[in-house]
């Protein structure tokens, strides 16, 4: 699993390197600031991968100077698991702020395709609890306990690469691969959260995540 993750990491890097060389002396184009709103669609598939988990994430991006995008991303993650032997509930939110830099030089034929280097600072917090935990041991028998509600927060950094391409009109789609590293987190816990919105499973630090997004570019 981890090998395939790192192989995926190579894809944007190879694309970046190969596409960077394409822009041999393109004609100058008139650049205008632009605002783009996006929705992450990976969260919609999360319920298939992680039944009981639902994540929604939106983004707002401003290209304030050519090839530089100031970006704000925010979202929520809710987890609700009910099984005979256990339950688990978590509600949290997260924000990320940072910048994207477009490596792909634009020409008049390809104004709308981007290859991005991505930098983010992320912050997330949640409350989680479990009222029924049953751990069964074949020798000692079953042990029942519970986890009272407790809060958790973490700060992390992200570095990644991605591509964005126009589908039609103002609609774009894109994907990115990011490496995330937690730099500060709540330490004294009865139990680590199952996952943190915007970051993923906490047992991995650093971790790698893939995101697919749809975007709408507002005319300015």
């Amino acid at each position: 699993m981890s090998i395939s993750r790192y192989l995926f990491l190579l894809i944007p890097l190879c694309l970046t390197l190969s596409l960077k060389g394409l822009a041999a002396a393109p004609p100058d184009t008139v650049w205008r600031p632009s605002v783009t709103a996006g929705m992450e669609v990976t969260g919609l598939g999360r319920e298939l991968l992680e039944p009981g988990s639902r994540q929604w994430e939106w983004s707002l991006s401003l290209e304030w100077r050519e090839d530089w995008f100031a970006t704000l991303e925010a979202g929520i993650l809710n987890t609700g698991i009910e099984r005979v032997t256990h339950n688990y509930f978590a509600d949290g939110w997260f924000v990320r702020a940072g910048a994207d830099y477009n490596l792909l030089k634009r020409d008049e034929k390809n104004l709308h395709d981007l290859v991005l280097l991505i930098f983010r600072y992320g912050y997330g917090r949640l409350n989680h609890e479990s009222t029924r935990i049953m751990i069964t041991d074949p020798y000692w028998g079953s042990y029942e306990t519970a986890l009272p509600q407790e809060g958790f927060q973490a700060h992390w950094l992200e570095l990644g690469a991605g591509v964005k391409a126009r589908i039609a009109g103002p609609l774009y789609m894109g994907w990115s691969i990011r490496t995330r590293l937690i730099v500060n987190r709540t330490q004294q816990l009865q139990m680590d959260p199952y996952q943190l919105g915007g970051y993923g499973r906490l047992e991995n630090n650093p971790t790698v995540g893939i995101r697919y997004s749809l975007f709408f570019k507002f005319p300015v």
């Binding site: 394409l22 256990h86 935990i133």
Partner: protein
Amino acid sequence: LLNLRSMRARFSFFKAFTIILLVVAALGLPSCQQDELCEDLTENPLRAGFYRSTDDGSQLLAVDSITVYGLNRPNDSIYNNQLNVLRMELPLDPARDSSAFVLHFPEATDTIWLTYERTTILVSVECGFAMHFQIQEAHYTTNFIETLEISDSQVINTADEHLKIFIPFDPPMPDPEP
């Protein structure tokens, strides 16, 4: 002109590549439903190996036979007269901060007491919760065991060995019955 055509072709590939990735991801999601069946380990036994001391450290050593059970549970064996044992797995009691085991060797019987800290973790949606242990202390009798060493105090979902139990290489013969 050739250069432009080449660029156009490569950008078409670039877009197609993005679309293919999206389709593959969409198709791959159902097959990746890792939480439908529990395939993760939820039992985290303590692993102990038998060793003899050597000049340059230690060497694995099989005990001829062993019977192991929890203290005060002689009728509920974890190992029952198991032959040629190099390593054994001992389940730690998830309900208490300590467990004790009786090790019955052909030559003598010893008891090991282990104290630990417990941490509950959610393994996955379908597997539910499991217990991780951090060994704090180990006490033991020395009827047959020479010494005992905690080689890894973290008892989690790995195949690591946690205890080294040193026993005599040339076991003394039991005293003759009077």
